[in-house]
């Protein structure tokens, strides 16, 4: 790529002496190191670089001396970002002398000075190996949003995107808009005091969608395939038998869910009597105004609701669908309203889960004298005579097994995401046409930090296809996903990364001349960024990329590099660290730390003045998955006594911002440890340590433990070679 800055590098180093740095560290020695750096034109100290006056010193050098590479040795790069915001073409690096040196180690100490000097050398080397891409790779983007599914979620997504000025194509499978809302008799309460059922809010939504000039509605339509990348998707849509090609910038998937198949619930009496129905059937009965026993058409005066019918059951749906409790209470209200004098609704629940404001609805329904609630395990649902059904439950709140004889039994079935049955999107991605899921068929995403983002950048899942939720929540979800879609288009326009490295202008560059088409990068990218050409070489779709560097960590040929994060840059940083001789008795331990959680955690440790061993050298990485094995090999052959990898939790409840980074790091670490054993080096010298951001206070202890383990093994025998 030819976008990198071509100007002759001119380095300016700025060492701050404020915040206690001047008192704790040998500033003179640091200045000497900076002055000796190649391309250095100036090195200045200041007692307060983040003041207006301090910033002016740097800005004057940028303007006057033509400095275009800046290294600021002061506080952590995570603070004062808006203060040290220089023009885009300036290559800026921050050396963390405050949180991770002066505040967390002894002042006026040789070891602390060694640490500061190593960090400064690393920063200078990194800076000299970095550049900034001059302009985005892609220039033109499509501003239209494609919303798939026109239920509560999809309609809201379309309305909000349209209001924000974007064109929207709303694709609906059915002939009419509304989705699940069309099947409802009444809707759960959505406004104060959250106790009264509402008419389904459908007609108003339909009118609003149709009134929006920015929205194009395609009914009886399905998406055949989608190719391309954020900002530049091409979607093939079949509508009423005709195929049309759409050019869209982002996709909102709002195809909802379907109820769990009640025919699989024979153990709860489905099929034993025509008077056992699923909750969607009961809703349809209520909508048609006929709450009757199917067996003889007589009014259903007493109705038993069996909750968690197939839900939270490892043999059926292992998860909670979150809305069935409230839905059953709503349907209990139908029974009571149809017959206020003698109507009886029995509700057998496992745990009454009415999240949020629905608690008020639960409380209100509880007050009804004809609604009978009990926790209980329904053990038998049998026909009792011709028209009655007997429901037996154990472990009830009434103290023992009980039976009630009712006209009708309603099984509250859970939600199955529509993506489980088929992929819907038809993505033309090397990794397959569907959105990757973690479990149960719901699209995988980082559910805490960025729930709408799927593992396909620019494709956002919202509503019950993402997670079970009520219409109220799905409506909010639709709006949120639409905003994320607009944001994805904006990032594509400027060529910057999406979450979690939002606004990062750098991107991976593939040295294809040395690529062996081993396909590791195309397979391991969690986001399906890379397609393959006919010969199996990776093809970069830059806007799909989240810049995590997992491909870089994977590449055995080491041909993938970022402009400011490269194989050579990192190796040089590691080499810049001085290894004390074995006779000094001092160890050197390298700690690769995830920039998202582990690195901020030790900044927090520093802010709280937690003290830890000065024999550790911390290197931030984009993700633990972005650690190339060669760095570990380099550091061990270079004399480091041990290497720590500190990152996020992986597995089912992972916290990795890049989904699979820690998992891949651990997998790769296993291979390195095998190699180490073959070389006669102890595998324990390299360790992965799970380190969530909330564990910052544990850091001194972790370091202590690791140092102790290394002391036990002894110094690296390769030291000095």
């Amino acid at each position: 790529m030819a976008n990198d800055t071509a100007a002759e590098p001119k380095l300016g180093t700025y060492i701050c002496t404020g915040c206690g740095l001047g008192e704790a560290l040998d500033i003179g020695a640091l200045e000497k190191i900076a002055q000796a750096a190649p391309k250095s034109v100036t090195c200045k100290t200041h007692a307060f670089f983040c003041s207006d006056e301090g910033v002016k010193v740097i800005r004057d050098d940028l303007a006057g001396a033509g400095v275009n590479h800046v290294v600021i040795a002061a506080c952590s790069g995570r603070v004062n970002q808006e203060v040290f915001a220089f023009p885009k073409e300036v290559v800026l690096d921050r050396v963390n002398l405050r949180e991770q040196v002066a505040w967390s180690h002894a002042a006026k100490d040789a070891d602390t000075d060694a640490l500061a000097q190593d960090y400064l050398r690393m920063g200078l080397v990194k800076n000299s190996k970095s550049s900034i891409p001059a302009s985005p790779v892609t220039q033109e983007v499509y501003e239209t949003l494609l919303v798939i599914g026109a239920g509560a979620t999809g309609m809201q997504a379309a309305i909000e995107a349209a209001k924000a000025g974007h064109k929207v194509v709303l694709v609906e499978k059915e002939a009419e808009l509304g989705g699940y809302m069309r099947t409802l008799h009444r809707q759960l309460p959505q406004r104060q005091p959250y106790t009264a059922l509402m008419e389904p809010d459908l007609a108003r939504k339909q009118v609003e969608v149709k009134a929006q000039p920015n929205i194009t509605v395609m009914t009886s339509a399905e998406v055949v395939k989608i190719s391309g990348q954020p900002g530049l998707f091409t979607a093939l849509v079949k509508s009423d038998g005709r195929e049309s090609t759409l050019q869209v910038g982002a996709v909102v998937l709002a195809t909802g869910s379907s109820p769990y198949d009640a025919t699989k619930l024979g153990h709860l009496g489905f099929g034993a009597s025509p008077n056992v129905v699923s909750s969607d059937t009961f809703e349809a009965m209520a909508k048609s105004g006929k709450l009757v026993r199917p067996s003889d058409g007589q009014p259903a005066r007493s109705v038993a609701f069996v909750l968690c019918a197939g839900s939270r059951d490892p043999d059926h749906l292992p998860y909670c669908s979150s809305t069935c409790c409230a839905t059953s209470l709503k349907q209990a209200a139908y029974v009571r309203q149809a017959n206020p004098r003698e109507g009886r609704a029995y509700v057998f629940y496992r745990d009454m889960r009415t999240p949020g404001h629905l608690e008020y609805f639960y409380k209100a329904m509880q007050q009804d004298e004809g609604v009978f609630l009990t926790k209980g395990k329904v053990t038998a649902v049998k026909a009792a005579g011709k028209n009655q059904v007997a429901v037996t439950a154990e472990e009830t709140l009434l103290g023992g097994p009980i039976t009630v004889e009712v006209d009708l039994v309603v099984l509250a079935t859970g939600m199955v995401p529509s993506t489980l049955a088929h992929d819907i999107l038809g993505l033309q991605y090397r990794q397959g046409p569907a959105l990757p899921d973690l479990k149960y068929g719901f699209p995988d995403s980082h559910f805490i930090c960025f729930p709408y983002e799927t593992r396909r950048t620019g494709v956002f899942a919202a509503g019950t296809v993402r997670a079970p939720m009520t219409i109220a929540d799905a409506t909010i979800d639709g709006g949120g996903a639409a905003m994320k879609g607009i944001q994805a288009i904006a990032y594509a326009r400027t060529g910057e990364a999406a979450l979690p490295r939002a606004m990062d202008p750098t991107y991976p560059v593939f040295g294809l001349d040395r690529c062996t088409a081993c396909k590791r990068c195309t397979e391991e990218c969690p986001f399906g960024t890379l397609n393959e050409d006919d010969k199996g070489f990776p093809q970069l779709n830059i806007n799909r990329c989240r810049r995590c560097g997992i491909c870089m960590g994977a590449c055995p040929e080491r041909v993938i590099n970022f402009q400011n994060y490269s194989i050579d840059g990192m190796s040089s940083q590691i080499r810049a660290i001085e290894i004390p001789s074995e006779s000094s008795g001092k160890l050197r331990i390298l700690a690769f730390m995830c920039e998202n959680d582990a690195y901020p955690a030790i900044d927090m440790a520093g802010v709280r003045r937690l003290q830890y061993d000065a024999q550790v050298r911390v290197v931030p990485v984009r993700c633990l998955g972005a650690i190339n094995q060669v760095w570990i090999a380099d550091s061990l052959s270079g004399g480091f006594d041990g290497v720590m990898l500190l990152g996020c939790k992986y597995g089912d409840n992972y916290q990795c911002h890049m989904i699979r980074g820690s998992e891949l790091a651990v997998e790769r670490l296993g291979k390195i440890q095998e190699t180490l054993n073959r070389l006669g080096l102890e595998a324990e010298r390299v360790q992965y340590i799970e380190f969530p951001i909330s564990d910052y206070q544990r850091f001194p202890e972790i370091v202590k433990g690791f140092v102790k383990a290394i002391r036990k093994i002894g110094p690296n025998p390769f030291k000095g070679f």
Binding site: R344, K363, E369, L398, I402, V404
Partner: protein, 540 residues
């Protein structure tokens, strides 16, 4: 065999009308059973009664003696996190029970609504006026005020002995029906002690008000009810003595120094004082956090009647002494009418509690496993105070042994220092009160009131006296004792480590056996190891 439940919706509506209007709010957390000073770990209540009421299980509730074991101290209603007011519900069930078993049944309906009050009052008035008309006394008598000038003593006897007799017999009829119903619930069970012994114990308990005294939130009622009881007994005794005097030739009015007169006057003072306190208490402005718990018409009928009898009786004497015949005779007439109502309507008003409560108490003493009830040391339980900072309680748990009691939150979701204990919702009967938390395998589960919860309790399981294990992740502060808790299960007062996890006050009481909820024979609790717990508890 599962029991078939068919809820009685009208029963639920009746209970709501009788003061249990919040009964449906209960979500079965069992706080009520844990805070109740009378409820025991073997037979915790009123948690089960709440769901019977919610499910309209009429037969179950009207024949439940625990409903009458309750003295309506309202601890449960005050601490209930949902405002379900279990105490009010039990009172409503009691009112319903009186009407339900009353004989003759149709007559009992006249006492449930203020609509019929004029009719009830008219009956004695018309009757007495008729008597006066027949005897030719339909005017204010001349000369010194002597009430027998209006109604000669023997005339009164012709009226009042049958009335009292009717009231008493009808009350006994209702009591018999009730006894049959509660006995049916325990069909086949072997009594632990005989009827006479149980009756004597019950009599002692009534006269000493030992159970009543345990009420903390409504502790003042004890000071009203006790003088009222003795005042009533004294007045009843005075009447009896006056009758004996009459037949031995000594006629009223008696001089003020006569022992019977003194008894009568002292009784009147006691009755006035007791009634006054109870009436005044009902008008007290309730503290905000206690909700307002208004009294129903049915509640008022009896207390109102008794108070009116006491007031008119006293006025009868005072007006006689003052010599105002124009006022004295009409007041005496009203007084007589009210006494007619009090005695004649006894089985249908709240007065009938004398039959039902006594029957329930005797039955309990015969059949129920001995209640191991521990009088709580230390300051009386303060009304719930909203705790602003849970952390504060955590600190106090360590620092202030007794002071922490006042801070006990009623509804704190984290349970720190709570009286609520870790009553696990799925448990069958809510919290254990005395044992150090039921062993994990026990179906009763739940929080401990006095001992510490098992260390595995996820929500702390606050202990009331002993300390909770320090490992409890969400607090579970000790309420009174603050001493370092034993490893599992606190002991009652000191901190003597119990022999096994879940130690109880007495040590080694086996975990309670399951109580069948629908009739049947309650399984006998396993024999106590050495000394029966009951004996020791009495010595406390």
């Amino acid at each position: 065999m599962p029991t078939t439940v068919a809820p009685d919706l009208d029963f639920i509506r009746s209970l709501k009308q009788l003061g249990g209007e919040n009964l449906k709010s209960c979500y079965q957390c069992a706080t009520c059973s844990v805070v109740c000073p009378i409820s025991t770990d073997d037979r915790p209540f009123p948690r089960p009664e709440m769901i019977y009421a919610q499910w309209g299980m009429k037969e179950k509730l009207v024949s439940d003696p625990l409903v009458w074991v309750c003295h309506n101290c309202r601890d449960c209603s005050s601490y209930c996190p949902r405002g379900a007011k279990p105490g009010e519900l039990l009172a409503a069930v009691r009112d319903y029970t009186i009407t339900h078993f009353a004989w003759p049944s149709s007559f009992a309906r006249l006492f449930n609504s203020a609509r019929f009050l004029p009719l009830l009052f008219a009956i004695p008035v018309v009757l007495l006026l008729a008597v006066l008309a027949v005897e030719g006394h339909l005017h204010i008598p001349e000369g010194q005020i002597i009430y027998s000038k209006l109604f000669p003593i023997h005339t009164l006897e012709y009226i009042y002995i049958p009335v009292a007799f009717f009231g008493f017999i009808a009350g006994l009829m209702g009591m018999r029906r009730y006894w049959t119903a509660i006995s049916a619930q325990r069909a086949g069970a072997r009594p632990r002690r005989g009827l006479v012994e149980a009756a004597i114990l019950t009599g002692k308990e009534i006269l000493s008000h030992t159970q009543f005294k345990k009420c903390s939130v409504e502790g003042k009622r004890y000071y009203g009810h006790l003088p009222m009881l003795y005042g009533f007994l004294g007045a009843f005794g005075t009447t009896t003595l006056v009758t004996i005097y009459y037949y031995s030739g000594r006629f009223t009015p008696l001089p003020l120094y006569d022992p019977t007169k003194i008894l009568g006057n002292v009784s009147a003072v006691l009755l006035l004082y007791g009634c006054g306190r109870l009436v005044a208490r009902r008008f007290e402005k309730e503290p905000e956090e206690r909700n307002n718990l208004p009294s129903s018409y049915f509640d008022w009928l009896f207390l109102g009647l008794l108070t009116a009898v006491a007031v008119t009786g006293t006025l009868t004497e005072l007006t006689r002494l003052s010599g105002a015949a124009g006022i004295a005779y009409p007041i005496y007439f009203i007084h007589l009418s009210l006494i007619f109502m009090l005695l004649g309507y006894m089985p249908y008003s709240k007065f009938a509690h004398l039959f039902y409560r006594s029957a329930a108490m005797v039955h309990e003493k015969m059949y129920a496993p001995e209640a191991v009830v521990v009088a709580l040391p230390g300051p009386p339980v303060a009304p719930p105070v909203v705790v602003e900072e849970v952390e504060e309680v955590e600190e106090e748990k360590v620092a202030a042994p007794a002071g922490a009691a006042a801070k006990a939150p009623a509804t704190s979701p984290l349970g720190g220092g709570s009286k609520i204990g870790g009553g696990a919702p799925p448990s069958m009967f809510g919290g254990s009160k005395i044992g150090g938390g039921a062993p994990p395998s026990s179906p009763f589960g739940g929080g401990s009131k006095i001992g510490g919860a098992p260390p595995t309790s996820p929500l702390g399981g606050g202990s009331k006296i002993g300390g909770a294990p320090p490992t409890s992740p969400l607090g579970g502060g000790s309420k009174i004792g603050g001493s370092p808790p034993p490893p599992a299960g606190g002991s009652k007062i000191g901190g003597t480590p119990p022999p096994a996890p879940g130690g109880s006050k007495i040590g080694g009481t086996p975990p309670p056996a399951a109580r069948p909820m629908f009739g049947g024979v309650p399984p006998k609790p396993p024999a106590p190891p050495v000394a029966p717990p009951a004996e020791e508890s009495k010595e406390e």
